[in-house]
């Protein structure tokens, strides 16, 4: 979140509410969950760290928030570093994998039944994301994020299918 806010200030100084509405637009339906105060908390932290400065503007009287935020040189450096970074969140399949192994070893539960239950849940999430993407009013750029959610969950479903194959075979062989 901090890096995103810094990057959004790179072009020009902006009010907090501007940053918030730009971010919400880019997130599409997924942006509706964004907490209104989150951006201000983030800005306050960035100011404390010396990455942004702010000053009062004469702004519009209908806006309670009249601070304009701008990047400091340190903030600019951090944006450059962030853009070059290639870290990537790793979906953690280990726990579910070990759950199946433990369930089978100790005969706690039928691993195939666990896979079935998990598939129903992942399928439900994928269906919801795909349904959201069907909405024609969604901005195509925001839709791209939903597509990413869908494709990831599809990969999870493919893997669950492999889990099912493996554990069905084990059961038959036992």
């Amino acid at each position: 979140m901090q890096d995103v806010v810094l990057a959004m200030l790179a072009k020009e100084p902006a009010h907090g509410y501007e940053l918030r509405s730009r971010m919400r637009a880019a997130l599409g339906p997924l942006g509706e969950a964004m907490n209104a105060g989150q951006i201000y908390v983030t800005l306050a932290r960035l100011a404390k760290a010396g990455l942004v400065t702010s000053e009062h503007s004469d702004g519009r009287p209908d806006r309670p928030d009249r601070r304009v935020y701008a990047l400091t040189p340190a903030g600019q450096e951090r944006v450059v570093a962030w853009l070059a970074e290639v870290s990537w969140p790793r979906p953690d399949l280990t726990e579910f994998h070990l759950k199946l192994v433990a369930a089978a070893t100790a005969r706690l539960a039928d691993p195939v039944a666990l896979v079935d239950a998990q598939r129903r849940e992942v399928l439900r999430r994928m269906r919801d994301a795909q349904r959201a993407a069907l909405d024609r009013s969604i901005d195509p750029v925001a839709g791209l994020l939903l597509e990413g959610v869908v494709l990831r969950l599809r990969a999870d479903l493919d893997w669950l299918q492999e889990c099912e194959r493996m554990w069905t075979g084990r059961k038959a062989g036992a």
Binding site: P29, L30, E32, A33, D116, R119, R120, L123, R124, R125, M126, R127, D128, A129, Q130, R131, A132, A133, L134, R136, L146, E147, V149, V150, L151, L153, R154, L157, Q161, E164, R165, T168
Partner: protein, 235 residues
């Protein structure tokens, strides 16, 4: 009202130790208006099931009833007529006639069903408009994108106002954007629809999902129509 029903439906291939039960004693009732997605890995029997339901293959055992009429015992000729007049098919590879334009492909089904050329053309143009291809009516399939070809195929499937549309991997050859087009089209359909697919995205338009395994149903879930989709995505 049940549109399509299967009782003890079975398809076996081979014999003795090589015996494969592609479809194994399946019971299924599909009410009018339902959008059913049958999913599962390749080889689970879902395509065979669709072929049996649509009268494209003969079952080894069991019965298929369409709108209260038993169809698995019909002669090949009667079956051909029934398929033409009451079932709309959509396939992975579109199955359009390459030398016919979009509108000619769509109207062909109506002409074969005995409609006048004028009625057939009017119906075809109306359907192409419905699938968002009014301005592509004169194009040959080769001049259309994959998604557009599949939309022509859906229009063709609807030509004779079928009781049911059966689709076999309709998004199998399509990229993400074209898949979205086809999903939107299916979403708007009023006709009863059965889709067999390994593409789990189809679930977005389904109000019932069946998972097949080894020729039988492993899971059969009915889904609420109006989902609070966005909220659920965030959770």
């Amino acid at each position: 009202m049940t549109v399509l029903e299967a009782r003890g439906l079975t398809k076996r291939y081979g014999r003795d130790s090589a015996l494969v039960r592609a479809v194994d004693e399946i019971d299924l009732a599909v009410p009018a208006g339902q959008k059913l997605a049958v999913m599962g890995p390749s080889g689970c029997g879902k395509s065979t099931l669709l072929h049996l339901l649509g009268g494209l293959q003969e079952p080894s055992d069991g019965e298929v009833w369409l709108a209260g009429r038993r169809i698995d015992t019909l002669s090949e000729r009667a079956l051909a007529r029934l398929r033409r007049d009451t079932i709309g098919f959509v396939f992975q590879s579109f199955h359009l006639m390459d030398e016919l334009t979009a509108v000619e492909n769509v109207e062909l089904a109506a002409l074969l069903a005995g409609r006048s050329p004028r009625t057939a053309r009017r119906r075809a143009l109306h359907l192409l408009d419905q699938v968002g291809l009014a301005d592509r009516a004169g194009h040959l399939p080769a001049q259309l994108s994959g998604g557009q070809r599949q939309r022509v195929a859906v229009a063709r499937a609807l030509t004779n106002e079928p009781l049911i549309v059966l689709a076999d991997e309709p998004t199998g050859n399509l990229d993400s954007a074209a898949t979205l087009e086809v999903l939107r089209l299916f979403e708007e359909l009023d006709t009863t629809l059965i889709v067999v697919t390994h593409d789990t995205r189809i679930s977005a338009i389904a109000d019932r999902m069946i998972t097949m395994r080894d020729g039988a149903f492993a899971d059969d879930t009915r889904l609420a129509g109006a989902v609070r989709a966005v909220r659920a995505v965030q959770s």
